[in-house]
Amino acid sequence: MTIPFSRRRFLGGLTALAMLSHAPLLAAQSAPIRRPIPSTGERLPAIGMGTWRTFNVGSDPGLLDQRADVLERFFREGGTLVDSSPMYGSAEAVMGRLLERLQREGTVFAATKIWTSDEGATRGEAAHSRELWGIDQFDLLQVHNLLGLDGHLPTLRAMKAEGQVRYLGVTTSHGRRHGDLEQLMKREPLDFVQLTYNVLDREAEARLLPLAQDKGIAVIVNRPFQGGRLFDRFASRPLPDWAGEAGVTNWAEYFLKFIISHPAVTCAIPATTRVDHMQENMGALYGALPDPALRRRMIDELG
């Protein structure tokens, strides 16, 4: 019996060997960190993306091409949740154009907001946003900064019952109106809340995050880099030598893994205009996460 042997097979065997030697790395790389949405159990990649400022490029052809690369990198690295708002200028329209161009309408977990003080305009605004995004249904509609909440929330609930939206939620940022948010979370059945939480701004840890866990509400974390300020302040420093233990290889992972390692957090939504930054940010979706002791160290390091 002759064993068929060719150069191609030989090279193939070598590749397999090389892959085996990287097996643990590959395993880690191929399993994005996902978190269940408590109200359904659907699992969401723990890093999503924001679009405030970064995707407001209007109809600029050059910038549309560039942002298409950023968005494609996000999806290719395992991301799904994109957060926007009618408040963000052209960001929703841009997202619609790019999703169509990249044929990613089926990949995206589309989250936008209702941003109007006209409490009767919920359905109209959602329909307009749907048109801009070019999708049949939003996965998540959030009341932006609790604006017009009393009118929008009942309508959103009705829309959810009619199958027009899958989840509903509310947003705050910069630590504003945490008291109101807390009351709301106690009172209303919400699928999601969005709030600001990062290694320096940790007010949410005291009451809101435990309450979300208790009530089974998914948490989206905005401003994970304090709008970029965390990089301005800390990125020139070397990473601490224990960073590897926390699964961290750069500052973006440091900031993001701190956030998503909190057990109440479902997803952080960093925003970027750059493909290389997107690549760094998506690194936080893979590998080890810091345990509570390391999380403490992460705070102390920057304190």
Partner: protein, 217 residues
């Protein structure tokens, strides 16, 4: 968790500067006429005939209309919903300038002074080019808002104090808004035209400048 001015910014500096580049690309080569329009303005304001000087105000009004419909509506509004209101304010200023041209005759300005003013506005129109590092980002007076507002503030020094105050409202509000925007964008060069415009406006609003200039009919 404090707010900073930059937290209110809706777009990045690159997107902002590219608005000017895209407008210049689309409008080319018509903007080359604008320096001549500036010279014509200086010329008109220097003429003894009151009608010529009134015409200068109407020419300025055309600049506000062009700026509203081209730069603000077509380029700026898609990235800033607030521009929908600015478009109306700019059109209102154009109407006010037309009314002013009908009712008031500007004071005569020596040609040399007018030319210095025009040269200053042209020089400051280069601010965007300095910030972007390319002449394509230049903000022409009569086509883009900061340079148009600056030119108008200068021209309004030729009209009596009361109507001047009314006509200064829109340019001053714009220059304030734009100055804050440049500040938040951390663009230094483009901060200069709003700063100069506001300085001149402040001087023009000062009651001490009330009596001057006496319009000659």
């Amino acid at each position: 968790m404090d707010y900073a001015l930059r937290d209110f910014l809706m777009f990045t500096p690159e997107v902002y500067l590219r608005l000017f580049m895209r407008l210049n690309e689309a409008f080319w080569p018509w903007q080359l006429l604008f320096p001549f329009a500036l010279l014509a303005l200086a010329g008109l304001l220097s003429l003894p005939q009151g009608r010529a000087r009134r015409l200068a105000l109407s020419v300025l009004g055309v600049g506000w209309i062009l700026t509203a419909l081209l730069f603000l509506q077509r380029y700026y509004e898609p990235i800033h919903w607030g521009m929908a209101y600015a478009v109306w304010a700019f059109l209102a200023e154009a109407i006010l300038l037309a009314v002013l041209a009908w009712r008031v005759t500007p004071a005569r300005v020596p040609l040399g002074i007018g030319l210095i003013g025009s040269a200053m506005v042209m020089a400051l129109s280069m601010a965007g080019a300095v910030s972007a590092g390319t002449v394509e980002a230049m903000g022409w007076p009569g086509l883009t808002p900061d340079a148009t507002a600056l030119l108008t503030v200068l021209a309004l020094l030729t009209v009596p104090w009361k109507p001047r105050c009314v006509l200064l409202v829109v340019p001053v509000l714009w220059l304030l808004f734009s100055g804050l925007t440049q500040w938040a964008l951390e663009l230094r060069a483009t901060l200069v035209p709003p700063a100069v415009g506001l300085g001149v406006a402040l001087w023009g609003l000062w009651p001490g400048t009330r009596k001057r200039p006496r319009p000659k009919r």
